[in-house]
């Protein structure tokens, strides 16, 4: 038996190219929620956001034999979702507002665009959820996941008990899992791609 959730994105893509259904299912399970929440945030409509995700994944399956990724899977999916959203914006009812806004933007913001587009992927979306955590929890969580410190080390640094650290970390994980409705293994994979 092959455990798909233990595969890396790269391995999943290789399997997908060969037409492996389970690899496709795993990619969907791994990324749908982050992408969906992003689409919902941008479009502010649940049905449109669902359509976006559906379109992106259906397109991915339909051309699975030709997929050649030059960027990471998460960046690829993010890009596909963004283009689909921009397409909806271009044809939508409120198109005029968006275009006027983009028009103003073109005039004002010639500079600094390089900096702005450096964060073009899912990392940013997960990062945002982490930013929304209560400050103390966030601090502890980031020390644990990003700096790789042990509970005892964090406790020592902040002058609190190991147990408090452990509780805060597990609370933070619960918040993320609730938010993205994803299995623990998936969450760990997503956290690993954070900067």
């Amino acid at each position: 038996m092959i455990i798909y959730s233990a595969h890396t994105d790269q391995e999943l893509i290789t399997l997908l190219r060969k037409g492996d259904h389970n690899a496709f299912t795993e990619i969907y399970k791994r990324y749908w929620s982050v992408l969906y929440l992003h689409a919902r945030h941008m479009l502010r409509q649940e049905d449109q956001a669902r359509d976006v995700i559906q379109e992106v994944f259906a397109a991915m399956w339909n051309k699975h034999t030709q997929i050649e990724l030059t960027i990471s899977l998460n960046a690829y999916l993010y890009k596909a979702v963004r283009n689909t959203i921009l397409n909806i914006i271009r044809h939508g009812k409120v198109k005029e507002n968006y275009l006027a806004d983009l028009g103003d933007f073109i005039d004002q913001e010639k500079v600094e665009t390089d900096e702005l587009v450096r964060y073009n992927d899912l990392k940013r979306l997960i990062e945002r959820e982490i930013l929304n955590m209560p400050p103390k929890m966030r601090e502890i969580f980031e020390m644990s996941r990003k700096e790789g410190l042990s509970h005892a080390e964090i406790g020592a640094r902040l002058g609190i008990s190991d147990l408090t650290v452990k509780k805060q970390v597990s609370k933070a994980v619960t918040i993320l899992r609730k938010k993205f409705k994803i299995p623990l293994a998936t969450l760990i994979i997503l956290l690993r791609i954070l900067p």
């Binding site: 969907y28 929620s33 969906y36 649940e46 921009l86 914006i89 983009l102 913001e109 900096e115 964060y119």
Partner: protein, 386 residues
């Protein structure tokens, strides 16, 4: 009108993949900005149902993929978890063995750490915290509004909290791996280095002095105003200036507070007034006051530009103690240095851009032939070179 047409044409080109890098950057940064502007989408939607709903639509639209989203039963799930843990353990072992076996710079690549970037928060006196955009480089504070240094407004805070021209205290915080620039109400510029905090008022008018509080490191370019001295309070000392450029390094986890002048002059006064005689010194260009603890103040000649080089995106070390170098790396790369040999006092010389990954810094330091590094997750192991 012309704008709208231009926008439509740009969007079309973008979607047809016919944009150059600059135009793509405009569309993408506009998109990111729209996202930032949108409020949180509150919803009680059941995401499990949504997941199933979208999946069933995908299956309908693209008939090939398997219909069942969740195939495995509990036993299989349990078995797979055990297997996964096994795989994870094996990977861990394998990696450890690799690390022990040999550690070369080429292996470093996959295990590198990105530099810090523009990140900071601003806390208002009512406790509200604003995350400053990492897409901008600085903030302008004016008596009644907050804007980014490119003129764009900081979302939803301006009118609300700083409306009245009365004095309110603001606190700027940079995390480890962050830096930010602030333009104060008198036009003075402050560059805040990583893991630092600057407290300042929303307006200086009405007060005799322009007073701010610093912990951590900052570079100041103070606007001239002889009638209103600019005063920086930091641990154990007060720095008074009329208009000049200087750097203060006052991290709590480092013993000394260092004040260095790049232009003009400043007066450093000990706040512990029991020390008569040495209670204040006046510093000129390329002089540095080193306050050790709360009582001992010494002045030495330095290359001030070198000390403030962080502000221009460089690390410049001139016979600098490795312990101090690693403190800077710790704050900028958000890493934990671990000394395996007692070489904190080893003096090293080198220069490199702060915007390189940590491997760049490590290579530069290793080139001295005196020290070796190993990256292990977020820890940097430091050993004497054999």
């Amino acid at each position: 009108m012309r704008n709208k047409e231009e926008a439509e044409a740009l969007l079309q080109r973008y979607l047809e993949d016919r944009c150059d890098a600059e135009d793509s950057a405009i569309v993408e940064s506009w998109y990111n900005k729209r996202g930032e502007r949108n409020a949180v989408f509150n919803s009680s939607e059941d995401l499990m149902l949504t997941q199933e709903l979208i999946w069933s639509n995908i299956v309908e639209q693209a008939p090939a993929p398997k219909r069942q989203l969740f195939t495995f039963n509990r036993i299989v799930a349990a078995a797979s978890l055990i297997l996964m843990l096994g795989v994870a353990f094996w990977f861990y072992k394998f990696q450890q063995e690799q690390n022990i076996k040999d550690f070369t710079l080429s292996q470093l690549k996959s295990n590198d750490i990105a530099p810090g970037r523009n990140r900071a928060t601003l806390t208002l006196d009512d406790g509200k915290v604003i995350d400053l955009s990492d897409a901008k480089t600085g903030v302008i504070i004016d008596a009644n509004k907050l804007t980014y240094n490119d003129g764009t407004a900081i979302v939803k805070t301006a009118g609300q909290s700083l409306e009245e021209a009365e004095k309110r205290w603001l606190t700027a915080n940079t995390p480890r791996g962050g830096q930010y620039q602030f333009i104060l109400p008198d036009g003075s510029k402050v560059w805040l280095n990583a893991a630092s905090k600057l407290k300042f008022p929303s307006t200086f008018s009405g007060a005799a002095n322009r007073e701010v509080e610093l912990s951590g490191e900052a570079y100041f370019e103070i606007s001239k105003d002889k009638k209103h001295p600019f005063i920086v309070l930091s641990r154990g000392q007060e720095v008074e200036v009329l208009g000049t450029h200087f750097n203060i390094n006052s991290y709590n986890d480092e013993g000394d507070t260092k004040t260095t002048v790049l232009e003009g002059s400043v007066r450093v006064t000990l706040m512990d007034a029991r020390n008569n005689g040495t209670s204040n010194v006046t510093l000129k260009i390329n002089q540095q006051a080193v306050l050790t603890g709360y009582a001992h103040l010494a002045v030495k000649e330095v290359d001030a530009a070198e000390i403030a080089s962080w502000k221009n995106g460089k690390f410049i070390f001139n016979s600098e103690a490795l312990g101090s170098i690693m403190k800077q790396a710790e704050r900028w790369y958000n890493v934990v240095p671990v000394f395996q040999d007692d070489i904190k006092d080893l003096k090293l010389t080198g220069a490199i851009s702060r915007y390189e990954n940590i491997s760049g810094l490590i290579k530069t330091l290793e080139a001295t032939g005196e020290v070796n590094f190993k990256i292990q997750g977020n820890r940097i192991l430091i050993k004497k070179a054999k």
